[in-house]
Symmetry: C2
Amino acid sequence: MAGRAAAKVPIARVGQALSRVGTPALVLDLDAFDQNARSLVHQMQVFEKRGPNGKTVALRPHAKAHKCSALALRQMDLLGSAAVGLGCQTLAEAEILASAGLKDLTITNEVVPIDKVQRLAKLAKTEGLALGVCVDSAVNVRQISKELQAVGATIKVLVECNVGQNRCGVETAEEAVELAKVVKAFDGVLDFDGYQAYHGAIQHVRGEAERSAECRKVAEKVVAINAAFDTAGIKCNTVTGGGTGTFLFDAGSGLYTEVQPGSYFFGDVDYGKNDWGRSKGWTQSLLVAATVISRNPSRRTVVVDAGLKAVDLGSGPPLVLGEEQWSFANGGDEHGVVTVPEGDLPEVGERMYLIPSHVDPTFNMHRQLVCVRGEVVEDVLEIDASGPGF
Amino acid sequence: MAGRAAAKVPIARVGQALSRVGTPALVLDLDAFDQNARSLVHQMQVFEKRGPNGKTVALRPHAKAHKCSALALRQMDLLGSAAVGLGCQTLAEAEILASAGLKDLTITNEVVPIDKVQRLAKLAKTEGLALGVCVDSAVNVRQISKELQAVGATIKVLVECNVGQNRCGVETAEEAVELAKVVKAFDGVLDFDGYQAYHGAIQHVRGEAERSAECRKVAEKVVAINAAFDTAGIKCNTVTGGGTGTFLFDAGSGLYTEVQPGSYFFGDVDYGKNDWGRSKGWTQSLLVAATVISRNPSRRTVVVDAGLKAVDLGSGPPLVLGEEQWSFANGGDEHGVVTVPEGDLPEVGERMYLIPSHVDPTFNMHRQLVCVRGEVVEDVLEIDASGPGF
């Protein structure tokens, strides 16, 4: 198919100047990315032997943020023993990361329906792969057990608990225990591992004190869940949660065995608006390169070639790197309209770099990631799990 | 690269039941799509010999809506002589469509910077391809001329005129004429073809009368532009504009030689909210298939596996096909929370079909299009130009 070949034209060449890369392009500043990884390891050192039973709280960076197996490998390499593995949100992400050689993956979501459960069973057979999955219904547990048994594989199972997000998860500590018992009834096929207590919606509570308070409410629920498991005599190896906005509080609670920051490695406008107190460890590493294709001096606007198909606008407009007074307005699918209140209006052909407002859906729209060191392209990575997954 | 193979797993098989296709999946009902094409041809018959100089107003469906070369070929086949070619919004779209065999493409946008102009020149060399491009600055015209001359190719050039959208385009009729003169100075390399007078922002003015009134304001500007070209003695072969919400008014004005509906073939919630009077020719052909992965009877909600990475939420939430009382709420990247106010709550594993609120960015997130006839998969198409382009 001829079109297929054209679609796979590399967006950039290794050694090329960033200023010559085709736009719109998703750009990763490797120095900043590497620094974020080091900073994360440093921040987690505080939680050495501070988890449940005196264990060290581990990192499980969430790959849903970038959907790129090459970046996942790079993350594991940079984090070393501080990370136990990666989180995935879709089965397709897990399949792609496993085939790229990642060895410890937890699908932090329910895998439904039966056709997917069959694929999950096949994935669980992968040699050397430690695979986990979340459940919140007995019907799903039975399906997973049946399909795993059919292929002769085992899988780690975590009960997902609703700790405030009101999305997936069982509602009460009692239900969590009941579901764990269903899982444990299939011992030898299903390896009951613990539970997920993740509240994504509070990660953008702006004030540090307010965000901490929201995390304490979650922690109270975790304490109650632990008590119910203790009463039932069921041991939880893993309590997982904590995204970029909350992982320091969750890790500090002493209740979590692992946390799942994802955006931390990249940064975005939305997380930039949080008050981090003294705890902001990340710097902006992810940018969208855009080119001025039209200018209008009377309106003091320029039009760039990055619209809502290149930079997600669901969490507000992007910012323009280094130009605090400039503002980006939605110009449709392929256009952004940037107002430049004073000074020289950029010329047609000039570049600017946008700070995305939301990491995850921006990665999801792109196919290639241009990794730069300074002003030079060091690598071009395929965002091989980008797209909705299925 | 192992991950690459996994990413290319087909989402569905020809002959498979729609109910077994992996979700989230972008689904096209071919009967509805074909019917929309026939309806469009029928609606355009009214404009036979009704364009400028008594010519028939032609269709140039916009491929930005679907970014799929196989669908573009299908559109040209279904529309027959009613269509002159297709519109593209990015150079990458044009490259991919041309390599798939499309023969008449207009890039309805500016192509900048010089690296892209060089690719444009290379594309213009494609044997048998009639290629057009929009310009709104003399600097861009000179670049295009220089690069085309370098490779010995010619290209049709349209001046883009701002008729109210305040995005790209020259501001006044006089500027349009001046820029046309710059184009004509490179006669033999640049083939001055006319101008684009497209106003995307008014396509969703809800009331039919109000939308018609907005189109009349645009028409007044077109009349003024025509007068300026007449005075200068410059002939315009092409006046192009008109998207799904406005093409009937633009075609009816007698001022346009061609119109560019795109979403018409698919339909979405946003266009569904327009008052179409007696002129709504399309039915919903595009859906996102989703599966219930979690349910909560006490809240009367279910969670489906289609979130903002599978169905664009920028124009509001999708609707659930056949369930007018159900409402979809943003559940994050990979989740949608559907409230079912009364009746049986769907079980885990059940399907539902979402009507997207906005065609274009929804196509842009997907990689594969599942084409069904009734309940059976007839084709699985690669959305080969999906992504931001570069």
